[in-house]
């Protein structure tokens, strides 16, 4: 039915290299984008914005970043929360220090600052790998959170130690602060996510992405055939931290509004993003989105069913969600270590061949 490739022949280099080579994919992505940009902003309300769409977009961004590092380059990182904190504090210092700066630029610069920090903490990856690297990134996580707690310059010497975003607008419409309309914050995040998902998709198909994957599959062999590990690993750290920094900046400025490092950027956030990419699929851009959707929607869904439906107390439901998430992680690793994205790939193969089994 779908995915008929006959008649989808390529007659130019441009057609051969396009991001989505199959027509059905192109149409599907187009429809989703049109829906996201032209329909959702008109129907969005405060509940959907605050508890579903914004978290989804922010975590999708973070998952994209971590997937570049862990899924494509094979370097396990538990420092995501710390890097998000860098993005958030960079955004805070930029918005308060330069009130005239455009918000898009603020977010991008925060990503740039985080990329720099990421390179510094990525340096050990040249000598250590696997679990050892995971522990090394824990150093980044705890050190960065401690730093933002202890150095008053980062939170502008405020008495509470919290950072609060000032109200800023883009094209005359507020996107941060309590007065920002739902559709504006949503579109602001959506623009970043869509643009950077496209960039990630193309990066991973290109020379850089291939060098990452070579390092992931076997670093010594990659080095021997001429992939420079220094460049490949540090660029993966830089790009990944850039994405995570943007996610952190959006998380703080648009979604939270006010933050305190231990609470908002703790080690649990690092694990959350790691779970997203495991469930979604390591080494898959689409998987990052599916994983983020899964991990943000599942708790909301269960809360709605059990608290609203059965009338159970929230703390009990919280424990059950913990169990479910843990159980699902194990289930996925056993049944489908490549995540939900792999299920989709299999389904796609089947659709291509349908109605013939082989």
């Amino acid at each position: 039915m779908f995915y008929r490739e006959s008649g989808d022949f390529k007659s130019s280099y441009a057609a051969d290299q396009q991001t989505f080579p199959i027509r059905f994919d192109r149409i599907a992505v187009g429809v989703v984008l049109v829906f996201a940009f032209l329909v959702v902003p008109f129907v969005i309300d405060d509940y959907w914005e605050k508890s579903i769409l914004l978290p989804f977009l922010v975590w999708a961004m973070a998952a994209l970043g971590l997937n570049i590092l862990t899924g494509y380059c094979g370097q396990v990182s538990l420092g995501t929360g710390g890097f998000m904190a860098v993005g958030a504090y960079a955004a805070y210092k930029l918005t308060t220090g330069f009130p005239e700066l455009n918000m898009f630029l603020v977010i991008l610069l925060s990503g740039g600052v985080t990329a720099f920090v990421g390179i510094v903490f990525g340096l050990p990856s040249l000598r250590i790998k696997g679990f050892y690297l995971a522990v090394a990134t824990l150093a980044a996580q705890f050190f960065l959170v401690w730093l933002f707690n202890k150095v008053p310059w980062f939170y502008n010497y405020s008495a509470s130690g919290m950072i609060t975003v000032p109200e800023r607008s883009v094209f005359g419409i507020a996107v941060t602060g309590s007065g920002a309309p739902s559709w504006a914050t949503y579109l602001f995040c959506l623009v970043f996510v869509v643009v950077f998902a496209m960039i990630a998709r193309n990066l991973t198909r290109g020379r850089l992405g291939r060098s990452w994957m070579a390092i992931r599959d076997m670093d010594i062999a990659a080095e021997i055939i001429g992939v420079p590990p220094l460049q490949a690993k540090l660029s993966a750290f830089a790009v990944s931290s850039f994405y995570i920094g943007i996610a952190g900046a959006l998380f703080f400025t648009v979604y939270l509004g006010a933050a305190e490092p231990t609470e908002a950027f703790g080690i649990d956030k690092s694990f959350l993003v790691l779970f997203m990419i495991i469930i979604g699929g390591l080494g898959s851009i689409f998987g990052s989105f599916v994983g983020a959707a899964f991990m943000t929607l599942l708790p909301v869904l269960f809360k709605n069913i059990m608290v609203a439906g059965f009338g159970w107390p929230t703390d009990l439901v919280q424990h059950i969600i913990f169990m479910l998430v843990g159980g699902l992680i194990m289930f996925f690793l056993i049944v489908e270590p490549n995540g939900l994205a792999q299920l989709w790939r299999v389904a796609k193969e089947k659709l291509r061949l349908w109605p013939f089994p082989h």
Binding site: A136, A139, F143, N149, K150, L274, F322, M323
Partner: protein, 333 residues
């Protein structure tokens, strides 16, 4: 002696005691890693779970009371006024063995031959699951664990050390928690017992054989599955001891599971495959972070204990990636 030196000695001693606690957790990691090559992130949560279960039995709580009450509208909390501590410890150990069996049966068996990092992530999932299960079974409130170990400062030591200070110095003696001393003693006994077990019993020999070479062990007729259950049970036992010690020290609460994270740098320092390494690594980290906090901490704002261990491990890794006592890492294409 001047009070400064005595203060430093006190800090070092307290660091050693804290290090023993880290070693206790790291020990469980090493056992499982040696026997199955699995880096068990859930070790900290196992300690939490064991401690929760122990208190549950001790005070005679009904498991899943909260859930049952909500579903059936009943009001059960306790089925008795509690049972003897020794009996409760034995029962908890049985629960941990059952847990080991279930983990092998439901998770590990299906993940044989997967990459180590996949197994690691599976244990993170396991940790989440057990965290939820522990709270669901016994409730999430902070509990007090009392197994009859003495605690509090030692007056005897304070009196003795006060005499060491030079005449007229403003010094009030050293403060060392008696509980920490007990913990150190128990840890020593535990390590000796584990060594004896692995050297002189048949199962212990089988364990070492599996640690040495999985396939060779299989060919001489050692059942990997049984060994895994045994190892996870022993790790459960170590977790129980660690849980009792930590629980008696600071109450049983969620943060107990975070000691698992502290055990990671300990392992990196000591090497993943060495039991003495786990002990010495723990002591180094314990003394190191206390001394750092004591000397440099005040200059840079304090609370350095949160990150010092990780940064130390990070720097150490640069020079010796296999740890102090670990086996040399050889890579082949």
């Amino acid at each position: 002696m001047s009070p400064e030196i005595l203060n430093t000695v006190e800090v070092v001693l307290n660091g050693l005691m804290a290090g023993v606690m880290y070693s206790l957790v790291a020990l469980g990691f090493v056992l499982i890693f040696k026997a199955s090559g699995i880096f068990n992130y859930a070790q900290g949560v196992m300690a939490l779970f064991a401690a929760l279960t122990l208190v549950g039995f001790q005070t005679g709580q009904v498991p899943f009371a909260h859930l049952i009450n909500v579903i059936f509208g009943t009001d059960y909390h306790n089925w008795s006024n509690g049972i003897n501590t020794v009996l409760a410890i034995i029962l908890t150990m049985l629960v941990m063995i059952l847990f080991a069996w279930l983990v092998e049966r439901l998770v590990l068996r299906h993940l044989v031959n997967q990459a180590p990092i996949i197994l690691f992530m599976a244990t993170i999932g396991l940790a989440f699951f057990m965290e939820g299960l522990g709270d669901l079974m016994w409730g999430a409130n902070i509990k007090v664990l009392d197994v009859g170990l003495p605690s509090g400062g030692s007056f005897w030591l304070e009196d003795v050390t006060r005499g060491w200070a030079s005449e007229g110095a403003n010094y009030y003696g050293m403060y060392i928690d008696v509980l920490d001393v007990w913990a150190a003693g128990i840890a020593i006994v535990l390590v000796i017992a584990l060594m004896m077990f692995s050297q002189y019993t048949k199962t212990g020999r089988a364990l070492r054989a599996v640690a040495d070479d999985h396939q060779a062990a299989l060919t001489v007729g050692i059942s990997l599955r049984t060994i895994w259950i045994v190892v996870w049970s022993i790790a459960g036992f170590v977790a129980l001891v660690a849980g009792i010690m930590w629980g008696a020290k600071s109450g049983i609460q969620f943060s107990l599971s975070l000691i698992a994270l502290k055990a990671l740098p300990v392992l990196i320092l000591g090497g993943f495959t060495s039991i003495p390494g786990a002990i010495i690594g723990g002591l180094i980290i314990g003394v190191g972070e206390k001394l750092f906090e004591f000397t440099i901490g005040p200059m840079i704002g304090g609370a350095t204990e949160n990150w010092f261990a990780y940064v130390l491990a990070l720097l150490f890794l640069m020079y010796r990636p296999q740890g102090l006592f670990g086996e040399r890492i050889i890579e082949r294409v």
